[in-house]
Amino acid sequence: MSCASKKYLSLMNKVLDQEATEQEERILYEHLANCVECRAHFDELKYSTDLLCRLAHPQLPAGFTKSVLAQLPPEKRHAIRRWGSRHPVLAAMAICAVPMSLVIVGARRQTMQSRDKNGYVLVKVSGDQT
C-alpha cells in the first residue's frame, strides 16, 4: 500500500478486531471515502475474513463419542477407594490384586505414548476387550 502512513492500516486492524473507539472508526471511514487504495485494502481484508466466517461447520460421524469412550482406560481409582472404605475386609483381600492392576494401567499408558510418537493413524487401541 503506497498510501503515505501506516496509520490507517493499524486503524483498519483495530476496527476489524472491534477494538476501535467511535472516533477512530470515524477517522478511518472518512479516510476511506477519499482514498481508493485504502478502501480497496479494507474491502479485501473484510472479503477474506467473511469467507472464513462462512465456512461450513464440519460434522463428525455419529459414532464418535462411543469410540472415544471405548478408548478410555478402564481404571477407576476413586471408585475403588470408595468401595474399599465401605468393605474394609474385602478391600484387604483385594490388595494383592493391586500390583496386577498397576501393571495393566502402566501397560495402557505405554500404548498411548507410543501412539503419540508414531502418529495417530497407526494403532487404534481397541476398547472392546474390556
Binding site: 480497496a40 469467507l51 463428525l60 460421524p61 481409582r77
Partner: protein, 192 residues
C-alpha cells in the same frame, strides 16, 4: 461456565465415563472444527479430536476449575494439531495426499442444506479455496486465525488457549489476515 458443566467435571474427576460422554457431545464439533481447519484432512482431524478427548480424560486432574473447560480442551486440541503438523513436515513424502481425495472427504462432511447442485458446487469450490488458503498460513498464524474466525473466540480466550499475551495474538491475527488477503485476492481481482 455453567453449573451443569461443573457437576459433570466433578463426576469425571471421580472416573464417571458417562459424565465424560456428555462433555464430549458438548464440545466434539468445536474440537473437530479446530483440528480440521488446522490439518486440512477429515480423517486426521477425527483421530486428533479423539486423542484430544482421551488426553483430557486422562489428565482431568490437571484441569483448573477456575478456568473455562473449553479453553483447556481447545488448548489440548490446538497443541495436538500443531504437533501433528510438525511431525508431518518431517515425513511429507509418506503422507503426501493424493490430489482430489481431500475434496471428496470435504464433500461428505458438508451439511446438506437442500441447495441446488449448482449452488452446492460453488460452495464446495469456495470451501476448498478457503481451506487451501488457511493451509498456506504458518501454523502460529493459522491457529490464531482459526480460533478467531472459525470458533469465533475473543482475543482474551485465544490468548489463554495459546498461552501468549493478547498483544501477540493480535499481531498473529493481523499478519494472518494480511496473508489471506494477499493470497485470496491475488491479481487484485477480489472475486476468487
Amino acid at each position: 461456565m455453567d453449573q451443569k458443566e461443573k457437576r459433570l467435571i466433578k463426576k469425571v474427576k471421580k472416573g464417571d465415563q458417562q459424565a465424560f460422554a456428555e462433555l464430549v457431545d458438548r464440545y466434539k464439533n468445536s474440537v473437530f472444527a479446530i483440528c480440521f481447519r488446522m490439518v486440512g484432512n477429515t480423517q486426521e482431524a477425527e483421530d486428533l479430536s479423539q486423542e484430544a478427548f482421551i488426553r483430557a480424560y486422562n489428565h482431568i486432574d490437571q484441569y483448573d476449575h477456575e478456568r473455562k473447560f473449553s479453553t483447556w480442551l481447545f488448548r489440548i486440541a490446538t497443541n495436538l494439531s500443531i504437533d501433528f503438523l510438525r511431525r508431518r513436515k518431517t515425513s511429507v513424502s509418506l503422507d503426501a495426499v493424493v490430489p482430489g481425495t481431500e475434496g471428496l472427504s470435504l464433500n461428505t462432511i458438508l451439511p446438506d442444506n437442500g441447495e441446488l447442485p449448482d449452488e452446492q458446487m460453488v460452495r464446495r469450490e469456495n470451501e476448498e479455496m478457503v481451506q487451501s488458503e488457511i493451509k498456506k498460513l504458518p501454523e502460529k498464524y493459522r491457529s490464531a486465525v482459526v480460533l478467531k474466525y472459525i470458533e469465533d473466540l475473543s482475543l482474551k480466550e485465544i490468548s489463554d488457549i495459546m498461552d501468549i499475551p493478547v498483544g501477540t495474538v493480535k499481531t498473529r491475527i493481523h499478519r494472518g489476515r494480511e496473508m489471506l488477503r494477499k493470497n485470496m485476492t491475488a491479481g487484485g481481482g477480489g472475486q476468487a
